[in-house]
């Protein structure tokens, strides 16, 4: 890395973080009441105290699992439905109003209805699925519909089998859009799952632990759990970025 890139990619974001923490310190000191705004030191102390508890790892692990399951089901079904819509235009027309409805429906309505209709344990999966699915469906649908028609014609002229056409043409053509869509929705899924856990009071979850800390006015602990959720989001987004890089290198030699 040359000097300019070091400044742009490392130093500049670091300045942002330092600035944020400094402002946080100043505001916390000005307010001076820990239960309203604990200082960064209190939050970090809270975070390290959580690290000593077994419940922390179980909760983070469970939340991660719920996020991934909800996301993966939504992703798989979005791919399936988008492909069906692509090859059967009638199906696309029939499904269109549902897709729009799911997309514009207020998230809170989804949460409340899911709490009425499903068990509290299932709520985080279902909520994540319902909110993420229409976003992914739109992304995948656009990706399938926007494959290069002249290249598609070439695959037909050279009699590509369905399998070859999918793996050598559709998949690599759609990958950039799919992976971008996935990385945006995956970190959004963490937020949704945690929100659903708070409202459904799901056992062994980041959401429930936050809710409990909030009831006892342990603001530092709420922030510590928030930090955990943020780190989880980073972890997922980072992993997906690495996967994206590996896949793009495989297909595009980039």
């Amino acid at each position: 890395m040359n000097k300019k890139r070091v400044i742009e990619n490392v130093a500049a974001p670091l300045v942002g973080v330092v600035l944020f923490i400094a402002i946080w310190y100043i505001v916390a000191a000005a307010i001076g009441i820990k239960i309203i705004l604990p200082s960064p030191t209190d939050t970090i102390k809270g975070f390290f105290s959580l690290l000593g508890e077994k419940l922390f790892y179980v909760s983070v692990g469970r939340t991660l699992l719920r996020t991934l399951i909800g996301f993966l089901i939504a992703f798989a079904l979005a791919c399936l439905f988008a492909y069906l819509a692509h090859i059967v235009p009638f199906f696309k027309k029939v499904f269109a109003p549902f897709a729009v409805m799911m997309r514009v429906m207020p998230t809170i309505s989804v949460i409340l209805l899911v709490l009425i209709w499903f068990s509290h344990a299932a709520a985080p999966y279902v909520i994540t699925f319902f909110v993420i699915f229409p976003m992914l469906y739109t992304t995948v649908s656009n990706a399938v519909d926007n494959v290069d028609p002249s290249l598609l014609e070439m695959t037909k002229a050279f009699r590509f089998s369905t399998k070859k056409r999918f793996f050598s043409f559709y998949l690599p053509s759609m990958l950039p859009a799919l992976l971008t869509g996935a990385s945006i929705t995956l970190s959004f899924s963490v937020k949704l799952t945690v929100a659903a856990e708070v409202i459904a009071y799901t056992e062994e979850s980041i959401g429930r632990s936050m809710q409990e800390a909030s009831m006892y006015m342990q603001t530092d602990i709420v922030l510590a759990w928030t930090l955990a959720a943020i780190l989880l989001g980073f972890l997922l987004e980072g992993s997906l970025l690495l996967i994206r890089k590996a896949i793009m290198r495989h297909y595009y030699g980039e």
């Binding site: 002249s150 002229a157 590509f160 050598s168 690599p172 030699g253």
Partner: protein, 236 residues
């Protein structure tokens, strides 16, 4: 559909909405020869190729397996030149790559093997596309103005390449072009299509037997044929 020395296309019907492009159209292509198809825009030249390749529905006509060289190269951008060739073949990966490698070497394209299409010049990419067409296992080779939009010097070079490597396989070829000169340089047979109310019709058909290496401007037969085709095409 096939006699011994002809590929015969019969009962080809193609309609786009109310527009009849072909109605029970029949044509024969001499086997192991290059047939050039000339004609004004909209006379159905490209549609004929697409119908022959089975890319558009066309009545009871059963399209034969055919290789296609398009106007643009249509190489998959995320595959190397070598893999763009290997992918149209069947069989074991190593064998396919080996055949693809040989095809690139034949076309003097070895240096392009590991390059991706965006890294190739227009002429090189089109040569890879021609190599792909020649490599694909099919009895029929369809070419749709493959040298269109390239500069004149490059066009001439590509025509020479094409003819040279076509001679190795002598595959039955249908070559659509707007250029009279191009047709005269490559064709064994020339046909001219024109649009009529009840679908396209062949209005001119001629075998051209002068050896290709003798074909050049200034040669009597070439100039005569060029004038004949020119006088016919300007009236359409």
């Amino acid at each position: 559909m096939e006699s011994n020395d002809m590929i015969k296309i019969q009962n080809l019907s193609v309609k786009f909405d109310e527009n009849v492009v072909f109605d029970n159209f029949s044509v024969t292509f001499p086997k192991n020869k290059i047939t050039c198809v000339l004609g004004p825009s909209g006379s159905g030249k490209t549609t004929l190729l697409k119908a022959l390749a089975g890319l558009i529905p066309c009545g009871e006509f059963l399209p034969p397996k055919a290789a296609f060289v398009f106007q643009d190269h249509r190489l998959l951008p995320y595959l190397t030149a070598l893999d763009n060739l290997a992918i149209v073949l069947d069989g074991k990966k190593e064998e396919r790559r080996e055949r693809a490698k040989r095809a690139l070497t034949d076309m003097e394209l070895s240096e392009a093997a590991d390059l991706y299409p965006p890294q190739l010049s227009g002429g090189m990419a089109q040569r890879v596309a021609i190599a792909r067409g020649l490599l694909f296992d099919a009895d029929l080779l369809l070419m749709d103005e493959p040298f269109k939009g390239l500069d004149l010097a490059l066009q001439e070079r590509l025509i020479k390449y094409f003819v040279k490597y076509w001679q190795n396989s002598r595959r039955t070829t249908v070559f659509v072009t707007h250029s009279i000169l191009e047709a005269i340089l490559v064709a064994d047979k020339i046909i001219v299509l024109d649009k009529a109310e009840q679908g396209a019709a062949i209005i001119y058909e001629k075998d051209f037997t002068l050896p290709r290496e003798e074909r050049a401007l200034g040669v009597l037969e070439v100039d005569a044929l060029r004038k004949e085709l020119h006088d016919l095409l300007v009236t359409l």
